[in-house]
């Protein structure tokens, strides 16, 4: 840690000397000289955005480079890869596209610098879901790691989370969504209305849940609570007893052959569903879209107990300074200014600046993705394949419906160490 501090100091000094040089040029040439020098310097910057595959998309880097005049490049990693690289090799990353719960690990390690909210011009337009912890006038669920609880810090170099609103953010809001179960309505043979259906004996051997312990346990808890088998004090932060009970029941189900598979990657969930190996399972929104592009009817089914929400944030690494820091702020401002929002809507996600995202969509797309209206023309994926026909309404409900009904957020629970040991038992059983 000390070492990193030293490096930063030397870098600051050298930056100052560069700036001094720049000032000298300004003095010597015209008054317009400085911005030119600034823009010239910015042009040579390469900003690295590292995150998981679902949000770290090459198209975004391409558009950003074009709009901003400096180079933005994407590095895709898996979840543990991001955390491990953030902590042990922070200088290999400039902007970290983290899930909220990952910031919970990264911030105490001191690898992120605070985002000066005054420099994010569109902060006031961002959804209160992140900035105030309310949505549609209602406080959003605090079960699990809700974005509001982790977005603020007290100062630029703080290594803990602030309890209320401050002028410094740990991250700039990124993409987010509310997840539910994916089903094959042609194969389930009946209506699916509750999370309890995930563990219903009707679908024995035809279900799957995700093998990512922190998220898999959420889906399991939602199902068991809905089925009235286990009650939880706080699904976002279960006790050891609650975890043990849940895993014991999962093991029982596994031994009875209830699960066709536990999927590890997005792609496995798509294949399980598309091949008909599974008819009801944990799923992510773009996976449902991917099944639909294959011409197979797959529905992201809203359930009466509500959704499992998740969100991402873009964090700035501590080593950023000088022009590169300026570039990072430019990028964060650009990220929530419309284009990304429009692009990722078609991917199934939402932008933290919904108004600008809506402006970037056609009226048909706006109605379909955000307002819960029936499509007035075919809806296509970002790559141009048709995903929905005229007249169809987006599954999973409208933007308002979704986020007003988030029951629990993806999280890293206090008992994570215990959970991982227990989940390993489930894997081994």
């Amino acid at each position: 840690m000390k070492k990193a501090g030293e490096v930063t100091t030397t870098k600051t000094i050298s930056r100052r000397s560069i700036l001094k040089g720049g000032a000298a040029i300004v003095g010597a040439t015209a008054i317009t000289g400085f911005p030119t020098v600034w823009a010239q310097g910015l042009k040579d910057i390469t900003l690295n955005h590292t995150g998981m595959s679902y949000s770290t998309l090459a198209d975004i880097a391409r558009q950003a480079s074009q709009d901003l005049g400096f180079k933005v490049e994407m590095s895709v990693v898996d979840h543990p890869g991001l955390l491990n690289r953030l902590v042990n090799d922070p200088s290999s990353i400039d902007i970290a596209d983290m899930e909220i719960w990952q910031s919970k690990v990264a911030v105490p390690q001191g690898v992120l610098q605070g985002v000066d909210i005054a420099r994010i011009k569109n902060w006031g337009e961002l959804t209160p879901l992140f900035t105030d912890g309310v949505f549609a006038g209602k406080e959003v669920s605090r079960q699990g790691d809700s974005p509001f609880e982790f977005i603020y810090r007290d100062s630029k170099d703080a290594t803990s989370f602030a309890t209320g609103k401050t002028d410094w953010a740990n991250f700039c809001p990124g993409v987010y969504n509310a997840d539910t179960l994916g089903i094959r309505p042609d194969l389930t043979g009946r209506e699916i209305t509750s999370w309890a259906d995930l563990i219903s004996s009707d679908f024995k051997g035809k279900t799957a849940i995700q093998n990512i312990p922190t998220i898999g346990i959420m889906d399991a808890m939602m199902a068991m609570e809905a089925a009235g088998e286990v009650t939880y004090g706080d699904k976002g932060n279960p006790t050891q007893d609650e975890i043990s009970q849940t895993i014991a029941r999962l093991i029982e189900l596994k031994k009875a052959g209830h699960f066709r598979a536990l999927w590890n990657t997005f792609d496995e969930s798509v294949n399980l569903m598309a091949a008909g190996e599974v008819v009801i399972q944990s799923m992510w929104s773009p996976a449902v879209t991917a099944v639909r592009t294959q011409g197979i009817n797959c529905v992201y089914q809203p359930l009466k107990e509500g959704y499992r929400g998740w969100g991402n944030g873009l964090g700035m690494l501590s080593h950023l300074d000088g022009l590169k820091l300026d570039a990072a702020y430019e990028y964060l401002n650009w990220y929530n200014s419309g284009w990304v929002g429009g692009f990722i809507a078609k991917q199934g996600y939402y932008s933290a600046n919904p108004e600008s995202a809506k402006a970037a969509l056609t009226e048909n797309e706006r109605g379909f993705f955000y307002e819960g209206k029936a499509a007035t023309a075919d809806i296509t994926s970002p790559t141009g394949e048709k995903t929905n026909s005229i007249g169809e309404v987006r599954d999973g409900g409208s933007y308002e419906e979704r986020f007003a009904n988030v029951a629990v957020w993806n999280n890293l629970m206090d008992e994570a160490e215990f959970l991982y040991a227990k989940w390993n038992e489930f894997n081994a059983a």
Partner: protein, 287 residues
């Protein structure tokens, strides 16, 4: 002269030693140290000297059942790859008369090896899946009504993938060992009235034991250290001795992951040492 030879020997082994020290000894020493630390949620590593991580792992029945399952896979895969590796090498060395043909056929076996492991694992899905080639073939031919579910996401598919991925690691050393057997030995044995089976049992098998031992070591190492193939091919329904490591790394629980790694290292080193006790691979070198 003798002194000079000694110096050359040390010079010859220096590059290997340097690489091993830099990229194995130092990193692993760190790992061993960390395995005695504690992990605290949201804080990370807490320096300590405790055997708690080891005690937790060793007293947990899950660790034992995962080792049992991994060792079961190891033995099955070892048997299958040995039988395949031995007879394929035997075929290439003693039955294919043209050396060039033998090399060509050998290389034919290596081509799939150059395609990514991940792609080769995924590629079993359209073959073994519920609507895959084998199931639709069987159903199409009217042999079965219901597709076989045990073909994919099962212990069976894990073994299939292991054999597919690792047989080459058995073939290469056995092939190299067998290739150096003087063919006139075999003729002499046959002339002396040995049966075909007797030649294999009394001449070929003992003379290729170095290759067999090395192949066995490769396969044991690969299967015991694997978490990836078993997770993907079992559809997450089976774990391996090291699958806990990947889970622990997801939230930076290095101490427990390090302790698991050290345990695995010790277990497999013991297996390796017993293989070398049966077949001293270095003995044949030193004359």
């Amino acid at each position: 002269m003798l002194k000079k030879t000694g110096l050359i020997t040390y010079l010859q082994v220096t590059p290997l030693t340097v690489v091993l020290v830099l990229f194995f000894v130092i990193p692993v020493a760190l790992v061993v140290v960390v395995s005695f630390f504690r992990y605290k949620m949201l804080v990370g590593l807490v320096p300590d000297f405790t055997f708690q991580n080891y005690a937790d792992l060793l007293s947990n029945p899950t660790t034992w059942s995962l080792y049992v399952s991994t060792i079961k896979f190891t033995l099955i895969v070892l048997l299958v790859t040995f039988v395949l590796g031995f007879w394929i090498s035997y075929f290439l060395v003693f039955h294919v008369r043209n050396l060039l043909t033998a090399i060509g056929l050998f290389l034919l076996c290596t081509v799939p090896f150059w395609t990514s492991t991940i792609i080769r694992m995924i590629s079993w899905r359209p073959v073994l899946g519920r609507e895959g080639l084998i199931n639709s073939g069987l159903q199409g031919a009217g042999i079965v009504d219901q597709p076989f579910d045990w073909l994919l996401f099962s212990d069976f598919s894990v073994v299939v993938a292991y054999v597919h991925l690792f047989t080459l690691f058995m073939i290469v050393p056995i092939f190299n060992s067998m290739a150096r057997i003087d063919k006139s030995l075999l003729e002499a044995a046959v002339d002396a009235g040995a049966t075909r089976w007797g030649v294999v049992w009394n001449v070929v098998l003992p003379l290729s034991k170095t290759g067999i031992a090395l192949g066995a070591l490769f396969v044991v190492t690969l299967v015991m250290g694997d978490f990836f193939v078993v997770t993907v091919m079992s559809g997450g329904l089976s774990g391996s001795a090291t699958s806990g490591i990947f889970n622990d790394l997801q939230f930076l629980n290095y101490p427990r992951a390090a302790a698991s790694a050290v345990i695995l290292l010790i277990v497999v080193l013991v297996i390796a040492a017993s293989i070398f006790r049966l077949v001293d691979v270095r003995k044949e070198l030193v004359r």
